[in-house]
Amino acid sequence: MTAGIVAVENLSLRLGAFALKQLDFAVAPGEILAILGPNGAGKSVTLETIAGFHRLDRGRIAIGGREVTRLPPERRNIGLLFQDFGLFPHLTVAANIGVGLRRPRRRLPRRSLAELLADLGIAHLARRHPAALSPGEKQRVALARALATEPDLFLFDEPFSALDAQTRERLRGDLEKFLRSAGVPAIFVTHDHDDALALADRIMILRDGAIVQSGPAATVFAAPADRFVAEFVGFDNILPGRIAGRSGDVLTVAVADQLIDVAAANVADGCARAVWLCIRAEDIDLHPSRHAHGAGARLAARVVVLRDAGMLTRIVLDCGFPLQVCAMARHVREMGLTIGAEIGAGLMPGAVHVIPIGEPATDPVAAFNDASEC
């Protein structure tokens, strides 16, 4: 096992009616992993299990290259932060940070308290109590407190969920800077995909205690593995379709009575296979004309709903099926869109992600044979 790496292998445990099912993942030094999922998916339990608050039924956990599966939380060398930062209200800032410094078990040479406070720009807060701090100051104190113990891993449970949008964005920036400079791997749990997209190198999506998909953040957001993930990472349009033909990497998919050409190198399946077409509302272009010229599909559409959302306008089109579109308000004004207008909806081939429905194509030979029948 390489030093610095956090590895979770086959982690399984049962907690009443809930269970974590064979979670397998690793976090490299300096890497930030986001665990994403709806409420009840097991995100927090996963985090608490890594921290040592639940006994595993099976599997093992290594932190900093050291097996910790059977160690209690205080010997795992981790930093844990919660949404309200979890400062001890009865202790001053200095005493909060000192809590972790007094224990003799830490392996690495300790930084002095004053130095740490100065590094994080909170020296002037040392004698204050947490109640007198702003959210930003609280976050810094909580980070300093965790950092003081020289952790091998940072764990964050919904770090920003209690904050307003502006503070959230600012603290997110602070946190990213901090984590990048600390070089310590971090895992954070969130149900907010903005947080995940902004901070994470890799994303792991949980559902009912099992990993549904994990990979680089950009990949998970662009190419969800199934309908659940697609919804979760914010695809506004998830349309049922059927493969009607293929030429090279371009699939022709029938949705209602429209035919849509999409680039789908990831789908090896053949004819008549049912698929989901996933399209983000912002990836659809509006054209005055219904006829395509150049690449991409052009759908005949009628404007059904126009809803002003400030800088953006949310539009629902009827293309034989409903299509959610999001466009710049200025663009909509310039086009003179009105309800009932007949227009064209343009889809660049790369804007559409295709998810096969049912059994995934695990056997490449069978998949190839299927495809050749088209």
């Binding site: 608050f53 010997r75 919660f82 001890f88 224990r103 113990t149 952790p151 764990l155």
Partner: protein
């Protein structure tokens, strides 16, 4: 426009209230609350005014009255200490762990509040008395006798007043965010250190409130103490004997002494514990 015709003018009693407050509701609440306050304060004032200076002076010179008072205070203090040692751990269990029969245990803790105190005294006598299943071996092995001793007084006081400590401490522990304990663990504190340095200090106010209530309730206990340990006499028992034997005037004089001392101690304790007077009872 004259002041009297101003439609926004408030009645005198409502002048300090913000304009949005429901004055009618407050008026009724003030009346009823004032009635209750008078119900508590008037008898105590009447008591304080009853004994003549001469009988007060006579009472203050009575050695056995001071003895009874001292015994009451000592026994109540011991009771509060025992309640803290035995009650706070139970409160922690009730707040922090789940086990079968937890609600039964919680109900048992509240039971003394519902048992008439003379009944409690008789029940304790059966167990702790000369032939009781605890009283007999305790006397034989440790020489610890509960009848007619300080130990008996403390046992009787503990039985009737320990629920206050357990319940207040439980509420205190439940008010401590478990995530703070988790963070303490990840910072390197073991379970004992976490409990002593994080959980206990954060529940401190509630625990002290509970102990103060237990202490105050113990000083005032009469029924259970009288049955289990008539002798040596605590202050309430001594006052009862004065009332029966010597009449109202002497009993009232002794009562004023007990009232003054216990009130003074109560206020002192609260000041030591919370840095303020009686005003903030139970508030955070």
């Amino acid at each position: 426009m004259t002041a009297a015709a101003d439609p926004g003018a408030k009645p005198r009693w409502a002048r300090h209230l913000p304009p949005s407050h429901p004055h009618g509701v407050f008026l009724v609440c003030w009346l009823l609350g004032g009635l209750l306050g008078a119900f508590i304060v008037v008898p105590l004032l009447a008591l304080a005014a009853t004994p003549s200076a001469a009988s007060l002076a006579a009472a203050a010179r009575t050695a056995d009255l001071w003895q009874a008072l001292r015994l009451s205070l000592e026994a109540a203090l011991l009771t509060a200490i025992v309640a803290g040692l035995l009650g706070v751990p139970l409160a922690y269990l009730l707040a922090r762990s789940d086990f079968r029969g937890k609600s039964l245990v919680a109900a048992i803790v509240d039971l003394p509040l519902a048992v008439p105190h003379t009944v409690a005294g008789i029940a304790l006598l059966l167990v702790l008395g000369r032939d009781g299943i605890v009283g007999a071996p305790a006397a034989a092995i440790f020489g610890l006798r509960f009848w007619g001793t300080l130990a008996g007084i403390v046992a009787a006081m503990l039985f009737v007043s320990v629920p206050y400590t357990v319940n207040a401490a439980r509420i205190g522990f439940e008010g401590v965010d478990p995530r703070l304990e988790k963070i303490a663990r990840t910072l390197g504190l073991g379970p004992w250190h976490t409990c002593l340095r994080i959980t206990l200090p954060l529940a401190r106010r509630s625990i002290l409130t509970g102990l103060t209530l237990t202490y105050a309730r113990s000083i005032s206990e009469f029924g259970a103490v009288m049955i289990l340990a008539y002798y040596p006499m605590t202050a309430p028992v001594r006052i009862y004997t004065l009332f029966v034997g010597s009449g109202l005037d002497e009993a009232a004089a002794a009562s004023v002494m007990l009232l003054a001392v216990s009130l003074a101690l109560f206020i002192l304790f609260r000041r030591l514990a919370f840095g303020n007077g009686i005003g903030a009872m139970g508030s955070r």
